[in-house]
């Protein structure tokens, strides 16, 4: 009897949920990046097997990312978003055994209030930061590689305090079709950590589009590190979309943190430059892309630069929901002790 009531309640709940989903502006979407990775070199900084490890992992399947997003458009002016992201989180179980499961965490949890100020939207909660959202949209292949600023730490191991999402509030808007702006204040701790100090991060961006298809973006952020140190990020982007089906972009940044001192106590900056392009032969079916990144983790060290070349294509043989993106990443290092790395990824982009 109890089971029967439970089943009826579940069925009713499901019907109500379906009906609510049909009547309101609610959407559920999932995006997954699944890779088969193969190291084409075996002597490089990344790809060389460590001494005494003959079974070194030089090819593997991995879910690099899995997003599950729920959006609810309550009215023309109010929207809610919840995004779960999943990543391999290093952990151990109760017995001390390694347990690096693909674990979900909250990436976005915010509301968006549009047109409180004309032609603007205000977001409050865990939200995309202004730092590289535009560059990411123009590059368009997060499934293959994060943009320069976003992936800086992954490539160089150097912290630049840049996060794709953070907890705080932002306003984005336009003054005319040629001028857009964005301001944001966040904890500065990203989405992986709660706030750890009293200092907040302030971001400002101006996006100019003087002629159709040509964008110039200026960005700055500031956060006090402690009572005597501060950090700034200065960033400039340019995007060209004037030729049909072709997008070309440039991203450049400098990260200036008072705490970045070399062994001889000289202050150094961290910077990077990225050039990318993509061309679509057939929309939603076939595109090619390429990128060149230059990483400078320490302006006072001539030996630590890293260059990365990315090239590949994006092919949707059946439907745009399933895209196959074979790509090659080629790393070179200024340090003569580090040999080049070449890595092949067969990336599957799933979106449903």
């Amino acid at each position: 009897m109890k089971n029967k009531i439970l089943r009826i309640a579940l069925a009713l709940g499901f019907i109500i949920l379906c009906q609510a989903a049909l009547l309101a502006q609610q959407t559920f979407t999932t995006t997954i990046y699944l890779d088969y990775t193969y190291f084409l070199t075996n002597k490089g900084w990344i790809t060389a097997p460590p001494p005494g490890n003959p079974s070194f992992m030089n090819n593997f399947f991995t879910f690099r990312r899995a997003y599950f997003r729920y959006e609810n458009k309550i009215s023309d002016n109010l929207k809610f978003r919840l995004t779960y992201d999943a990543d391999y989180v290093k952990a151990v179980d109760a017995s001390g055994k390694k347990d690096d499961k693909l674990r979900p965490f909250i990436k976005h949890l915010n509301f968006e209030w549009s047109n409180l100020i004309p032609n603007s939207s205000i977001k409050v909660g865990m939200t995309d930061t202004l730092t590289f959202k535009l560059a990411e949209d123009k590059w368009g292949y997060r499934s293959v590689a994060k943009t320069l600023t976003d992936g800086y730490k992954d490539v160089t191991g150097t912290e630049i305090d840049a996060s794709s999402a953070d907890l705080g509030a932002s306003i984005n808007g336009s003054i005319s079709k040629q001028i857009r702006y964005g301001f944001m204040v966040t904890n500065g701790a990203g989405y992986s950590h709660p706030e750890g100090d009293k200092f907040k991060k302030f971001m400002a961006q101006i996006h100019l589009i003087p002629i159709a298809g040509f964008s110039l973006v200026g960005y700055v952020d500031y956060e006090k590190q402690d009572s005597s140190n501060k950090a700034f990020t200065y960033k400039a982007d340019a995007f060209l979309e004037m030729v049909k089906n072709l997008v070309i972009g440039v991203e450049y940044f400098v990260y200036d943190n008072d705490k970045n001192l070399a062994a001889d106590l000289r202050h150094y900056d961290i910077s990077g430059l990225s050039l990318f392009g993509r061309f679509t032969f057939k929309p939603d079916v076939l595109s090619i892309f390429a990128r060149f990144d230059r990483y400078e983790p320490n302006s006072k060290n001539a030996n630590d630069q890293v260059s990365l070349i990315i090239a590949g294509f994006d092919w949707a043989p059946l439907h745009k929901s399933l895209r196959i993106q074979p790509n090659i990443l080629y790393y070179t290092y200024a340090d003569p002790a580090k040999k080049d790395d070449a890595i092949f990824n067969l990336t599957f982009f799933l979106s449903f």
């Binding site: 084409l40 009215s75 590949g312």
Partner: protein, 298 residues
Amino acid sequence: MKKWLSIAVIGLSLALIPQMSLAQKKMIQVKGSDTMVNLVQILAEEYMARSPKQALAVLGGGSGTGVSALINGTCDIADHSREWKQKEIEQAWEKGVKPRFFIIAVDGLSIIVNERNPIEKLTMAELGAIYRGEVKNWKVVGGPDKPISLYGRQSNSGTYVFMQEHVLGNKNYSMDMKEMNGNAQIIEGILQDENGVGYVGVGYLFDSSGNVRKGLKVLKVAKDANSPAYSPLDKTSVDSGRYPVARPLFQATNGKPSPAVADFIMFETGPEGQKIVEREGFFTIGAAHRESNEKNLR
């Protein structure tokens, strides 16, 4: 290492070659307004019968979907039953898309109720108040003492936006409105619900024999309480602008249309296409629209 790189490059090239040759075969992709999808499909079929070498694919999804597809380069023609929003104009500008607009027909947006509802007409103010949720009972507008049940479109529909701008005074719809996926779903809702009111393109009102579908009543609408009410079924009222809920149906291209796209648009807006427009229950375009279309084709 070099061997692997060579294999990878050759493999990529081989995989790309057939796709690149596929990309050469061009089919005109039309996407957008659900109000227009049936009409444009019929126009495309007639056009393909006349020009068998040219293929067209026509999809719905709503005006917003069509505009977005044109901006993202995934269609050649966007169908839209409302003007572009400021945000869309800005997105197009950012992506180097310079839209050109064509008007292919005029739609008298029809306000429908169940035939058992005794109400015959509404003013624009009453209609706005009903859809904003300020009037919740038919009694207030001269009908029976019954709650009003609202049917409308989802927000990516041009019809939704047109109603919001022209009837609701740019205010929000009532939270109680049922947001349906298409005109046909609104009609089904009204047929089942004697307290319902909905809005659909005039082309969706008729059955196969050309009569208004059984079970539906099309309301007359007046500009204000002192003006006479007109029906969207009366062509002269729509043409003359006396029927207040009429709108042009647009197509947009990215810049000057290619010769193939231009030829299709000329067919739609020419005498043959306009005959089909009329046959499908929409209204033909006037001289001013024709002139603006011709200018945009050049």
